[in-house]
């Protein structure tokens, strides 16, 4: 095993600056969209008094949970003693911090009164999970930065394991906290399930890893750095495991809802009759985000090709956004059951007349705002790997350390 050398990302300056330029343009568009929505008011968005959280929240929550999932790679190496993942730790921490910033920025930009952010920082209501999340998020950023320091600095190395452990526990709390934002809403049929928190933890693993792999493979490709077969196979299998886990929890979640008579109205609506939301669930979440990537990852031929693995990662991300839209928008569109056993015939406030779902049509500014968050995360990442030593020089098979499992695999492989 050779010593791992970290180097700045050395792509040609023109390529670097044009990448940054494109991302900056996306941020610029998002800023315009933000200014427009704040200046005129939210009536220009698709959100209304029934669907109060829309497309921006889909992106924001995706980025936030993907952030906590991305840190998972570093945790595996530090907490679970898998030296193979060690060279990936720095990028994992950087991505976590970057996506968290991007996600939070979108959340803030969508507030009705973003200029009052200072109020949110100085007035806490400690019974609100939202207020707790503010601590969880800022704490997460600080810990990730400390964690990066222990990984990069000789003096910090001694603290690597304790800080890594804290980071791991903190990220679990963070994702649970994000899931709980929804779990606490007893009024909404869709969220009335204890399974939501573990579901969020598992999908965060999947989304975070998908983003991580995509960024890693792209960055290495552009800079002609090698990624060995072993580490590729390991990451790919891990992704398959998490995606399958996400599907499993989706299944359990919907089965328990169907089984509990209280929520079967919502289930039947979502699974069969919810129009756009049903489509998002079956095609977006289950097919694109689950079955297709699994098919690629476990396909004997396709799974060997890097481009197909990147495709699988991309599908997991698109499917993840669809899942978020089902969880966030679909559940609001379904009318709140205020009068069980009765049908609403007329209402002056869209209370689900004859069971009708509330309308929501996403608008361009909302979409731009969400994409702006993605762009911010990518800018932080691109600049980070460019100016600091985040990326290992090589991940070739002879460079990365083998951990016990691989050694065992090797042992099995030999007689064959």
């Amino acid at each position: 095993m050779k010593r791992i050398v970290y180097r700045e990302w050395r792509i040609p300056p023109t390529q670097f600056w044009s990448t940054l330029g494109i991302l900056a343009a996306m941020v610029g568009m998002a800023t315009l969209a933000f200014g427009y929505m704040e200046h005129t008011g939210h009536w220009v968005s698709g959100m209304n008094n029934s669907v109060v959280w829309g497309t921006p929240h889909v992106f924001a929550v995706f980025l936030i949970i993907a952030a906590s999932g991305a840190l998972n790679i570093a945790s595996i190496s530090t907490v679970f003693h898998k030296p193979m993942y060690k060279p990936l730790g720095r990028l994992s921490g950087l991505l976590a911090a970057a996506m968290l910033m991007g996600g939070l920025l979108v959340l803030v930009m969508d507030l009705g009164r973003p200029e009052r952010l200072i109020v949110a920082m100085t007035n806490y209501n400690f019974s609100s999970i939202f207020a707790w999340n503010i601590f969880l998020y800022t704490g997460f950023l600080i810990i990730v930065i400390a964690y990066l320091w222990t990984m990069a600095d000789r003096q910090g190395a001694a603290f690597n394991r304790p800080v890594g452990l804290i980071a791991f526990l903190w990220r679990l709390a963070l994702t649970t906290g994000t899931g709980s934002i929804f779990g606490f809403l007893v009024a909404r049929q869709a969220y009335d399930a204890a399974i939501l928190a573990p579901f969020f933890v598992v999908i965060s693993f999947a989304y975070g890893l998908a983003v991580f792999m995509l960024v890693l493979m792209y960055a290495f490709d552009e800079d002609n750095r090698p990624i060995g077969e072993k580490i590729m196979r390991r990451l790919k299998n891990l992704l398959g495991l998490f995606v399958a886990g996400g599907l499993y929890f989706t299944l359990i979640y919907h089965l328990t809802n169907l089984y509990g008579a209280k929520n079967d109205g919502f289930e039947l609506w979502l699974l069969t009759n919810g129009g756009m939301h049903t489509f998002m669930f079956w095609v977006g979440s289950v097919l694109i985000g689950g079955l297709l990537p699994l098919g690629i990852i476990y396909h004997p031929e396709l799974s060997k090709e890097r481009n197909w693995i990147m495709t699988a990662c991309g599908l997991v991300i698109i499917g993840g956004l669809a899942t978020m839209s089902v969880v966030i928008i679909g559940s609001q569109a379904y009318p709140i059951q205020m009068f069980p056993g009765q049908t609403i015939l007329e209402s002056g406030f869209f209370d689900g007349v004859n069971g009708a779902a509330a309308p929501y049509h996403p608008t361009i500014p909302e979409l731009l705002l969400g994409l702006g968050g993605v762009a911010v995360s990518l800018i932080i990442t691109v600049v980070g790997v460019r100016v600091l030593q985040f990326l290992p020089e090589s991940l070739a098979d002879d460079v990365v350390a083998l951990d016990e499992e691989l050694l065992r695999e090797e042992a099995f492989a030999k007689p064959a």
């Binding site: 507030l111 009164r113 009052r116």
Partner: protein
């Protein structure tokens, strides 16, 4: 009695004192500046000189048998009382979309029982929960419950996150989606904040007897809504609650609502 809450720019009038002021409705006998831009004049001390106490709990009883299908007197009255009628649709907006975005503190709902086919019509507003989910979730504490049971939003603390709207089981809250043109001094409103029925809190602070919707319903001769103190055994509302069967909407959530319904 004259109270002027002078806010030149409500954007910068962020201060906890104002919330405390709203919370206890503490009267002050002289003009006091509590923050730049917020000036409170009080000519007559009573009844706002007394802080809001938990000796009372304001509530409504709605007798759906008396509520008339097609009547919207309560809704119209609420709009006038709180200046919602001054709100205009943004010029470029589609009417259909605006319908889903314009605020409504109270609305009429018509129901049919799935088993018996019996029809009911009723007004629906904030239920003034004793254990309000909207207050629990609000990150800044802008959504708060007064000692007298009224649940309302402090418009200087609300950051417009809409979490309370996600949490309310009765969909009682509205987000202000556009600029507010013209508003009443007694009911400050502003783009980007959330609002809901506050049992005509301005009337409470002036010691008036009922709410706009109750008056309007009575004026129509229907008398379907009764306002009163749920803690006073001699109040009309308590006597009626003793006499006739009533219930809370979504009793299963055990929120102990301050608005009760009979006949649903």
């Amino acid at each position: 009695m004259e109270k002027v809450i002078d806010m030149k720019d409500e954007n910068d009038a962020i201060n906890p004192q104002r919330r405390a002021f709203l919370g206890v409705a503490a009267g002050v006998t002289a003009a006091v500046t509590v923050a730049p831009g917020v000036l409170l004049h009080t000519v007559d001390a009573a009844p706002r000189a007394e802080p809001v106490t938990s000796d009372v709990r304001w509530g409504l009883l709605i007798d759906t048998a008396k509520c008339v299908d097609g009547c919207s007197a309560c809704v119209d009255a609420c709009h006038h009382e709180n200046g919602l009628n001054l709100q205009t649709m943004p010029a470029e907006q589609a009417v259909k979309k605006w319908e889903t975005q314009k605020p409504a503190w109270v609305r009429k709902v018509k129901l049919q029982d799935n088993q018996t086919g019996r029809m009911t019509t009723l007004p629906l507003m904030c239920q003034h929960c004793d254990d309000p989910p909207c207050v629990d979730v609000c990150p800044t504490g802008a959504s708060f419950k007064r000692a007298d049971g009224i649940v309302m939003v402090d418009r200087h603390l609300c950051i417009g996150c809409r979490y309370c709207m996600m949490a309310c089981p009765y969909k009682a809250r509205s987000f202000i989606h556009s600029d507010v043109h013209g508003q009443l001094t007694s009911v400050p409103r502003g783009k980007g904040c959330v609002e809901s029925c506050n049992l005509c809190v301005q009337r409470r602070d002036f010691g008036q007897e009922s709410t706009a919707c109750v008056d309007a319903c009575a004026a129509e001769g229907h008398h379907a809504i009764v306002f009163g103190d749920l803690k006073d055994p001699d109040s009309t509302i308590c006597k009626l609650l003793n006499e006739m069967p009533s219930r809370q909407l979504r009793e299963d959530l055990v929120l102990n609502t301050g608005v009760r319904y009979s006949g649903v």
